[in-house]
């Protein structure tokens, strides 16, 4: 059964609809997404990156920000990233922040909500890849890479991400398989030390086991600083140096 709207109701609903859509669009388009306090980018580059971050924000329904500082003040790099997201993301709980501090050479990649869900296992890898560009002072490329990696959500994007690892494992397994196949190409020798031994004839007449020394090796365990946060919202962060 259809509910018939009168003219006033129709105008009101249309107005509310357009208000919401326009508000949302303005909310996306007007938001400042790059905070380059360290002056790493030219104004043209800033504009290009701002546009790219806007585009992926709409595309992924998430909020993406980049913040650079000359130095950190009263907070660590992760706290900086989280505060930027908290202050600028609004009601959207999904997104990612790339935070850079030039004096400390700190780099942090923090993801929230659905972006964290998609990238939770590769926070370190994303941070490392961006860090490599930062080290070589390709700041524009580094920030564009942040946009690209953060918005790569699909199966294919992840597939490409896992390909190098897949081929590395494959190389090892293929090598082992081929070596085994070459080794057994002639057949397998099944004669062992017991084949011709007279049953029960072996006697161990003497056995000496004398302690000589103890050697110790010490290996540093490499630890990643990435980890998820507690509390109600889902997020995770990876920090390092560049």
């Amino acid at each position: 059964m259809l509910y018939k709207l009168n003219k006033i109701q129709t105008v009101l609903i249309t107005a509310i609809f357009f208000f919401c859509v326009t508000f949302d669009l303005f909310a996306v388009t007007d938001k400042k997404r790059i905070f380059d306090d360290a002056n790493l980018l030219s104004s043209t580059e800033q504009t290009l990156i701002q546009d790219e971050l806007k585009r992926i924000s709409v595309e992924c329904d998430a909020e993406f920000f980049i913040v650079t500082r000359k130095q950190l003040e009263n907070q660590n790099i992760e706290q900086l990233a989280r505060s930027i997201f908290r202050e600028n993301a609004g009601s959207n709980g999904s997104g990612a922040v790339l935070a850079i501090s030039m004096r400390e050479r700190d780099i942090n990649y923090t993801a929230f909500g659905s972006v964290f869900d998609r990238h939770r296992k590769r926070l370190d890898r994303i941070r490392e890849q961006i860090g490599t560009k930062m080290t070589s002072q390709n700041y524009y490329d580094a920030f564009m890479l942040f946009a690209k990696l953060s918005s790569s959500f699909g199966f294919w994007a992840n597939y490409q991400e896992f390909m190098p690892m897949g081929f590395m494992v494959s190389a090892v397994l293929t090598f082992i398989t081929v070596i085994i196949l070459i080794f057994i190409h002639k057949g397998i020798n099944t004669v062992d030390s017991k084949t011709y031994a007279v049953l029960g004839s072996f006697k161990l007449t003497n056995a000496i086991d004398k302690y000589l020394r103890t050697s110790t090796t010490k290996t540093r365990i490499s630890k990643s600083s990435s980890g998820g946060s507690g509390g109600g919202s889902r997020s995770g962060s990876s920090s390092g140096k560049f």
Partner: protein, 350 residues
């Protein structure tokens, strides 16, 4: 040179050893005989004397006359049982199983030629690096059955090994993994007896491949009898027992060393620096064991393959195609890489 033909008591056609029946069977009237029946039927007039080369010159060709068709046949110096190349009449050259060449033991064929061919085809199919031309039936026709000369050694081995044993344990301390390895001096002394360790008695048969088709099942070993040779090729030894001992020593030393390594306290890893094994009470017996031989020629190189005529075990030099190996490696590398990446992606997305 005396040649013996074991003939059917019913029709006088040649009788050959039937593997499935484990009796002698006439190919013409299909009568079957026990070994004793053939011995009693062997008449003196069926043994003919032929020209014979010098006994000590085994490399020379010898001539004998086929008792069935009268053709003069040349054989190599070590051939002890053969066929007439014209009428396929089986003949056993008696003098090559006499005196010092008389074997003590024998294991009869249990695997028929047809079974051996099937086994070879199944085996070569599993060698994925073997060229495809060697997987066809035509190549199998070149298989031949042969009684090969073996020396069987009984001996007592005594010796010791010395080396270092290591046990490791790990624990974490702060940001470090600490691995502690305790090193021990180890020495093991022991004795063991070995029974019928085979060493092949033919220069023509490669030791490595002959060892590869071992072991033979000694439960079926029996006293040698020339009747078993009828219908097969056979060679007498050209490596005497003294020379064969040279191959015996490293084998038995290896056996005792392995046994000593596995005895006493166990270690995570072991390095043996000294091995000293002496053999004594060595007794030797001459034996004939059944094998099938196939020689493939690939790119001008001979590849020998052998099948144990009793157990069916196969070992040998299957031709190796580098191209097949490369194609296999590339296909496996690419497909496995894509599959692993896809699997990891699915796990990640889930």
């Amino acid at each position: 040179m005396a040649v013996e033909n074991y003939k059917c008591k019913t029709c006088s056609a040649p009788a050959t050893f039937d593997i499935k029946l484990q009796k002698w069977r006439c190919d013409y009237c299909e009568s079957t005989f026990e070994k004793e029946d053939l011995e009693s039927s062997l008449a003196s007039d069926e043994t003919i004397e032929t020209e014979e080369g010098p006994d000590n010159d085994s490399a020379q060709l010898n001539e004998y006359r086929c008792t069935a068709c009268g053709a003069e046949i040349l054989t190599e110096g070590n051939t002890a049982a053969t066929f007439c190349i014209y009428c396929q009449n089986p003949s056993v050259i008696k003098s090559r199983f006499e005196g010092k060449f008389k074997p003590r033991y024998l294991i009869p064929f249990k695997i028929t030629m047809a079974d051996a061919k099937k086994m070879y085809l199944q085996w070569i199919k599993k060698r994925i690096f073997a060229p495809s031309e060697f997987r066809i039936k035509g190549k199998v026709e070149k298989i031949r059955g042969l009684y090969a000369p073996y020396w069987l050694f009984n001996c007592h081995a005594a010796g010791y090994i010395e080396g270092e044993g290591r046990n490791s344990s790990s624990h974490t301390s702060g940001n470090y993994r600490i691995t502690e390895t305790k090193h021990y001096y180890i020495k093991r002394s022991g004795v063991s007896d070995y029974d019928k360790v085979p060493v092949d008695g033919s220069e023509n048969l490669p030791d490595e491949i002959m060892q590869g088709i071992e072991p033979f099942n000694y439960n079926e070993i029996c006293d040698f009898s020339m009747q078993y040779m009828s219908g097969y090729l056979a060679e007498k030894y050209d490596v005497d027992s003294e020379k064969a001992k040279g191959a015996l020593y490293p084998r038995v030393q290896g056996f005792l060393r392995k046994t000593l390594e596995g005895s006493g306290a166990r270690y995570g890893s072991t390095t043996i620096s000294t091995t000293n094994v002496n053999l004594s009470d060595i007794k030797v017996a001459y034996a004939m064991f059944p094998i099938y031989i196939l020689t493939n020629i690939y790119k001008g190189k001979k590849h020998r393959l052998m099948i144990n005529g009793q157990t069916g075990k196969i070992y040998g030099e299957a031709p190796f195609s580098v191209m097949r190996c490369l194609v296999f490696t590339v296909v496996m590398f690419v497909s496995l890489g894509l599959i692993i990446a896809a699997g990891a992606t699915v796990l990640h997305v889930i």
